[in-house]
């Protein structure tokens, strides 16, 4: 009952939603209370790219913001979405109902998009830092949502474009058979064709039940392609690359992992990962500011260095707190659209991502970095895995708003 009543109120108008939570306002009288909910994978395949390390990054952002000194009492709560959109949306709904001012992180595009709808219904802020789908700021965009970190457009253009430029013209794709895989494959194939390359074949394999890719690898090899495009993520990518090495594919084809995180490279080991080209928008060893960030956050997550999604949760949380502080009106924090509008008004600046901004459609605009994975002998310290090959400026890294079909922009 309560849920549906809140739903109605939240959808009706921003001010009404704020008024429906008198308890929070009363408590806020002494310290300015904020609640941030990290909805992520804490037990499944994306735990290492989100999970506890994302929580560590959110906590680091609160510390770096100086919440205590500024009179804020920020509580961080967490929920495990178990890679299930039903569980994920129920969690987000419950957290918002319990007074969460922000939901952040959320790996897995299906869940990331589903929670966008919840944020809109409840009119609360939502920063997705860990899903890939470019539809989040495309056809599903709304006034409560910001998409941080990366998307499928950025990955396909940065990694795909660079490989075609360096002579990899004939591609064969191995694609995880669900929305994310299809989008990544389609967008990369479009880039390849646009730049004069050819797509010789694509195989959609069943997700998430596939562990052996040898059959697909043999078919890729037989196709005569010179680039193997992996439109998948996580352990699937690790398994495909590990097995490609067993069949000697890496000697004949260039392997392009279209979505590989630092943590995947760590799991694979440099012996196997060396030479891969991949795109991330953050790397801890990129510059002095990222190294300073890493030094601060490391005690909170000593065994798992943050990759771009987790660093995105740091950057996003910090910017959210700055926006709340700038609004200087705790009542408006319960108005998600107002908070996000404030976030869009202010340029972002933090150690992990540097100086950037948020576009009208909710797209966080940051440069995309193309990396090459080092060989074991080139790696000088733990987690020293990448060499920077190229930087794509933010304006080119993301899809132009006109092409996205975001209803916010038309209005």
């Amino acid at each position: 009952m309560d849920l549906s009543r809140r739903n109605l109120l939240g959808g009706a108008a921003a001010g009404v939603a704020a008024a429906s939570l008198p308890g929070t306002r009363a408590r806020a009288a002494s310290a300015k209370k904020l609640k941030i909910a990290v909805v992520s994978d804490f037990s499944g395949p994306y735990r290492d790219i989100g999970g506890p390390t994302s929580v560590a990054c959110v906590e680091q952002a609160i510390a770096d913001f100086g919440a205590k000194q500024k009179g804020y009492d920020v509580e961080v709560i967490r929920g495990d979405h178990q890679e299930n959109p039903g569980v994920g949306t129920a969690l987000a709904r419950r957290f918002y109902d319990q007074g969460a001012d922000l939901v952040i992180d959320v790996p897995n595009s299906a869940i990331g998009i589903a929670i966008e709808g919840v944020a809109h219904d409840k009119n609360r802020a939502y920063i997705n830092t860990n899903s890939a789908s470019s539809d989040i700021t495309g056809k599903f965009c709304n006034a409560q949502t910001v998409h941080w970190t990366y998307d499928t457009y950025m990955l396909s253009h940065s990694t795909g474009g660079a490989i075609v430029k360096s002579g990899g013209k004939k591609w064969f794709f191995i694609t995880a058979d669900y929305a994310f895989g299809h989008l990544l494959h389609e967008q990369t194939a479009a880039v390849v064709k646009q730049m004069g390359g050819q797509v010789l074949g694509n195989i959609n394999y069943p997700f998430p039940t596939t562990t052996d890719f040898s059959s697909y690898l043999i078919q890729a090899q037989a196709s005569g392609a010179d680039v193997l495009g992996l439109a998948n993520a996580g352990k699937d990518t690790v398994n495909s690359i590990k097995q490609a090495h067993q069949f000697g594919l890496n000697k004949k084809m260039h392997i392009a992992g279209l979505l590989i995180f630092l943590n995947d490279v760590h799991g694979m080991g440099l012996e196997i990962a060396q030479g891969l080209t991949l795109t991330e928008s953050f790397y801890w060893n990129l510059n002095d500011r990222t190294r300073a960030f890493m030094k601060r956050v490391k005690p909170r997550t000593p065994d798992n260095y943050p990759s771009m999604g987790q660093a995105g949760s740091y950057s996003g949380t910090l910017h959210f707190l700055k926006a709340v502080d700038a609004m200087n009106n705790m009542k408006d924090v319960k108005n998600g659209a107002a908070v996000v509008a404030q976030m869009k008004k202010m340029p972002t600046d933090d150690d992990a991502y540097g100086k950037n901004y948020i576009r009208e459609d909710g797209r966080f605009m940051c440069p995309a970095y193309l990396f090459r994975v080092k060989s074991p002998s080139e790696s000088k310290e733990p987690w020293d895995y990448y060499d920077l090959l190229a930087t794509t400026p933010a304006k080119e890294a993301f899809m132009p708003m006109a092409a996205e079909g975001c209803p916010l922009v038309k209005a």
């Binding site: 994978d41 037990s43 499944g44 395949p45 994306y46 735990r47 290492d48 790219i49 999970g51 058979d177 195989i203 959609n204 394999y205 069943p206 998430p208 039940t209 596939t210 562990t211 052996d212 040898s214 059959s215 697909y216 043999i218 078919q219 037989a222 996580g234 352990k235 690790v238 398994n239 590990k242 097995q243 067993q246 069949f247 000697g248 943590n263 995947d264 760590h266 799991g267 694979m268 080991g269 012996e271 196997i272 065994d303 798992n304």
Partner: protein, 295 residues
């Protein structure tokens, strides 16, 4: 080039071989399950998790103790078997007298606990483990390049399967095992310690999962979810082969590996479903499975 149903023949030969390789994992895992079910009447849902533990133990032996692949091939199954023995003595034996569902629920819970513990300790992206030097590299077979290690896995799996089948079906030890489960009271009257026989049988079944884990470590990403990914297929293999039929599990394991291999060429999207489609057809035609004795 010779074409078969629109696909080049060399590609299909390759698939046949790959199917046999995958089938050897199905066969080894379903063998352990079939032993545990056939002799103890326990549906061991923790089998996949114990396979994962076998792979992690292999990695751990190298990572922490510097013990390489060959000793691990013996040590890891023994350690997993000992762990299984502990589980049987402390938990699983209490389900023997209950409905079969209790054993299933207990082992399912154990699988979740094991996976959770390993995820907590080692994260979800897994750890890396390479093949021993002597088995790395590829062989040119003319129609495809075969990684030497995969060839080794097939050979090892066939030897293990035949040996286990022989012990259980053709030796006096096997006869004792079968008798202990068919009529424990009578066998006990002959002076045999039946609970011990049953515990050791469970340990042996589980150590087969551990052994498959060692063989899998250099092939696949060693991660806490690796058992779950396989276990559903393996259960289908056991059901198709006939619950508890040792020979059925082995033949079906290889057979389904091959069917899946061809599906991956002709219609990849169906490759995980095909096993269950076969299961449905077999159960309609022969409810006890291909090699099962009708209850």
């Amino acid at each position: 080039m010779l074409m078969i149903l629109g696909k080049p023949a060399p590609l299909l030969f390759g698939q046949l071989l790959l199917g046999i390789i995958n089938g050897s994992f199905y066969a080894m895992l379903s063998l352990g399950l079939a032993i545990i079910f056939g002799l103890l009447n326990v549906i061991n849902f923790a089998h996949g998790a114990l396979f994962m533990v076998g792979a992690f133990v292999t990695w751990g032996l190298l990572h922490y103790l510097g013990i390489g692949y060959w000793p691990a091939l013996v040590l890891a199954p023994v350690m997993v078997g000992a762990f299984g023995l502990g589980l049987e003595r402390t938990l699983i034996r209490f389900t023997y007298k209950l409905d079969i569902l209790y054993g299933l629920l207990l082992t399912f819970g154990l699988a979740l606990v094991l996976e959770g513990l390993f995820t907590n300790a080692y994260g979800s992206s897994g750890v890396s483990y390479g093949a021993p030097d002597i088995l790395s590299g590829t062989l040119n077979l003319g129609f495809m390049y075969l990684p030497v290690y995969r060839g080794f896995v097939v050979a090892a799996a066939i030897i293990i399967c035949v040996a286990v089948w022989f012990v259980i079906e053709k030796t006096s030890l096997g006869a004792l095992l079968r008798a202990s489960t068919e009529n424990p009271a009578l066998v006990q009257a002959f002076g045999v310690n039946v609970p011990r026989v049953i515990a050791l049988t469970f340990a042996a079944g589980v150590s087969l999962a551990g052994l498959a884990g060692v063989l899998a470590a250099p092939l696949y990403s060693v991660n806490p979810g690796m058992g779950t990914d396989l276990i559903n297929t393996v259960f289908a293999v056991v059901v198709i082969g006939g619950m508890g039929s040792i020979g059925g599990a082995i033949i079906t394991g290889f057979g389904l590996g091959i069917i899946q291999g061809f599906t991956e060429v002709y219609y990849p999207a169906a490759s995980s479903v095909v096993v269950f489609a076969v299961m449905a057809v077999v159960l309609l035609a022969r409810p006890a499975g291909l090699f099962g004795r009708a209850a």
